[in-house]
């Protein structure tokens, strides 16, 4: 029998997060046997690029496409075409509108992430203080959802004030400059929350270069391999992330199950995800993995070589 071919489509190639997810997917493929992972994606984070990739995957008649979308709507027609031709389509990480996929696997629930990022900052500010948000590209959906979720729980932290939200466009230099700008505009800034792996690294570097280690704590979502330096220098006291390896692993497991008809995507369905246990779909055919995991001095060395 032919092997099951699962395409894992990243937002763009050359991003450590997705590389790590691909490793997780490979792990799942090995476990499942007779499964091939096609890890692919466009050069830059555009919808047009992803559509080209999807078209070529449809042409190859892969068995499943699992995509982290650059635009939840723009990729829908292409994915619908894929589904019409019998390809299993799921989204993971950054979602696709419901009509364009069978189910969505969120790395964590938006609510949990929103709560976590403010908590990370607040834990080190018992007296309260000023925090600012350094987001990624202005067009990425998940960033904005998390920030919105964070704002919903702000009343639990009356002493903490969010003074600004700026965008680093997921570019190291721009994020760096934005972080610098924040520190100049708000001399009393206590923390920068960057819910993006590019922004958090750049912000930590900016804090270090401004000799504000100890005054400004950088936190948010980042990868241990990229943040190890910042933890070491003290620019960041802690940060969180879900485990991309686990995310990729789970995605591949679900895609395989749906593609081989071992499971169907419908509200309430429970899908077995190997070593990760199982996920249950909600009424929107969405499933969330666990709460983000927090990394600090105590555990960074253990993870920095993993992802």
């Amino acid at each position: 029998q032919d092997s099951v071919r699962i395409a894992l489509v990243a937002k763009s190639l050359g991003n450590g997060f997705f590389e790590a997810a691909a490793r997780g997917a490979e792990e799942a493929a090995e476990e499942l046997g007779n499964t091939e992972i096609i890890y692919t994606g466009p050069t830059s984070t555009t919808a047009e690029g992803q559509i080209e990739v999807i078209n070529s995957l449809i042409a190859q008649r892969v068995d499943a496409i699992a995509i982290s979308a650059n635009d939840p709507d723009a990729v829908v027609p292409a994915l619908q075409k894929a589904m019409q031709r019998g390809i299993t389509v799921i989204s993971w990480d950054s979602g696709v509108a419901p009509e364009g996929r069978e189910m969505h696997l969120a790395p964590s629930s938006d609510e949990l992430i929103g709560r976590t990022i403010i908590k990370l900052a607040a834990d080190h500010l018992p007296e309260g203080g000023e925090v600012a948000v350094l987001s990624a590209t202005s067009t990425s959906t998940n960033q904005n959802t998390w920030i919105a979720e964070m704002e919903k729980v702000m009343d639990q932290y009356p002493d903490i004030e969010v003074v600004a939200t700026v965008y680093g466009d997921d570019l190291a230099d721009k994020s760096y400059r934005e972080a610098q700008g924040l520190m100049q505009t708000y001399p009393d800034l206590d923390a920068i929350i960057a819910p993006t792996s590019v922004g958090i690294v750049a912000a930590a570097q900016a804090v270090q270069d401004a000799s504000k280690v100890g005054q400004v704590n950088v936190t948010g979502l980042g990868l241990p391999s990229e943040m190890a330096g910042a933890i070491e220098s003290g620019a960041s006291k802690s940060f969180a992330i879900w485990n991309p390896v686990d995310l990729g692993y789970t995605t591949a497991m679900i895609a395989h199950a749906l593609a081989t008809d071992e499971a169907t995507a419908e509200p309430g369905a429970e899908i077995d995800t190997g070593r990760m246990g199982s996920v249950t779909l909600d009424e929107d055919n969405q499933a969330a993995m666990s709460e983000p995991f927090t990394y600090d001095e105590s555990n960074i060395d253990e993870f920095k070589s993993i992802f």
């Binding site: 190639l13 919808a47 080209e52 709507d73 027609p77």
Partner: protein, 332 residues
């Protein structure tokens, strides 16, 4: 002619070389051979390549870009360039999305897309022809300006919910596997081919590209021709914006990011001289097919896009360098 009597007027033919010889020496033939080779290589490399539906899907890789490339070819032949085309797409798409919020229907959206394209083209055209500014610099500026306005309007938001009739313009099929976009591509290829090669206007475009001063002294309204070309390029960007927006079903400020360089690459690969004065639409058509086939063929092998772009970059330099290298070596 008293003085010419001493020497007999020499007889010379209209043309020295026949049509066959001209074709044999043409750039288009070289490009066509490359296209055929790539086609064969693709059929060998992937069993999925020779499938009408797949090939039909693959045409989306180049149809929108090549529509702009046709107008850009004329503009570059006339000695100017427009790097703001992708910015125009972003702005036109944003304007359509904005109008959509007020319940404007498909015909209205199309009209807005075309109008914004024309306006942007007119803006570039005025800066270049009236103020006499170099187009490469002006359009580097308007490239940021047009897309920048999109960012100001949209920020991190997106417009979506385009009606199906509008989406059809980007996704619809006219007949079997023939998409609406592909039909437009063919129609525009014919129109631009005829305009450039068979009309007085086309001749004026070539003349201006070769020697704008002599063109002016010959009674050609150089500024007007250039203005028309900027308007056409804007209009084609507007049309591309309509198709692309219809296909994506959503508008974000980052739409068509970095397309300007891909369009210019297509035009130059098609044998249009970046210095102006030479080139053909047939060349651009073949170049569009070559780029489409390369990206699709490599895509089928799951080669990352950035590696494809190495391939296309090398193709661009290689195809232009090769004939020069050969003449150089032959002259030794």
């Amino acid at each position: 002619m008293s003085l010419a009597e001493g020497t007999r007027p020499r007889n010379f033919p209209d043309r020295l070389t026949g049509r066959g010889q001209r074709i044999l020496r043409s750039w288009e033939l070289l490009l066509f051979v490359i296209a055929v080779l790539i086609f064969i290589a693709n059929t060998q490399a992937s069993p999925y390549f020779l499938d009408p539906w797949n090939l039909s899907d693959a045409t989306f890789n180049f149809t929108e870009k090549s529509m702009i490339a046709f107008a850009m070819a004329l503009l570059i032949i006339s000695g100017e360039i427009d790097l703001s085309v992708a910015g125009i797409i972003a702005l036109a798409s944003t304007a359509m999305g904005w109008a959509l919020q007020f319940g404007v229907g498909t015909p209205g959206l199309v009209a807005i897309g075309l109008a914004v394209g024309l306006l942007c083209g007119a803006f570039n055209g005025v800066l270049v022809t009236r103020l006499g500014l170099p187009s490469i610099v002006v359009t580097i500026g308007t490239m940021s300006l047009f897309r920048g306005i999109s960012y100001i309007v949209l920020g991190d938001q997106a417009f979506n919910g385009y009606p199906d009739s509008f989406a059809w313009l980007g996704r619809g099929y006219v007949f079997w596997v023939i998409t609406f976009e592909l039909t437009l591509f063919v129609v525009f290829a014919l129109i631009y081919g005829v305009v450039l090669h068979k009309t007085n206007f086309g001749r004026h475009v070539y003349t201006i590209g070769n020697n704008p001063v002599a063109a002016r002294f010959s009674g050609i309204r150089v500024e007007r021709v250039k203005m028309i070309l900027f308007l056409l390029t804007g209009l084609m960007s507007g049309i591309a914006a309509i198709c692309l927006t219809g296909r994506l079903g959503s508008t974000r400020p980052s739409i068509a990011y970095a397309w300007e360089l891909e369009v210019v690459t297509m035009v130059v690969l098609g044998g249009v001289s970046i210095l102006g004065g030479a080139g053909s639409i047939l060349g651009v058509v073949i170049a569009a097919l070559v780029i489409g086939m390369v990206t699709f063929g490599l895509g089928l092998l799951n080669v990352p896009g950035i590696v494809m772009s190495i391939f296309i970059g090398a193709l661009l330099i290689g195809v232009i360098a090769l004939p020069r290298l050969v003449t150089k070596l032959r002259r030794r």
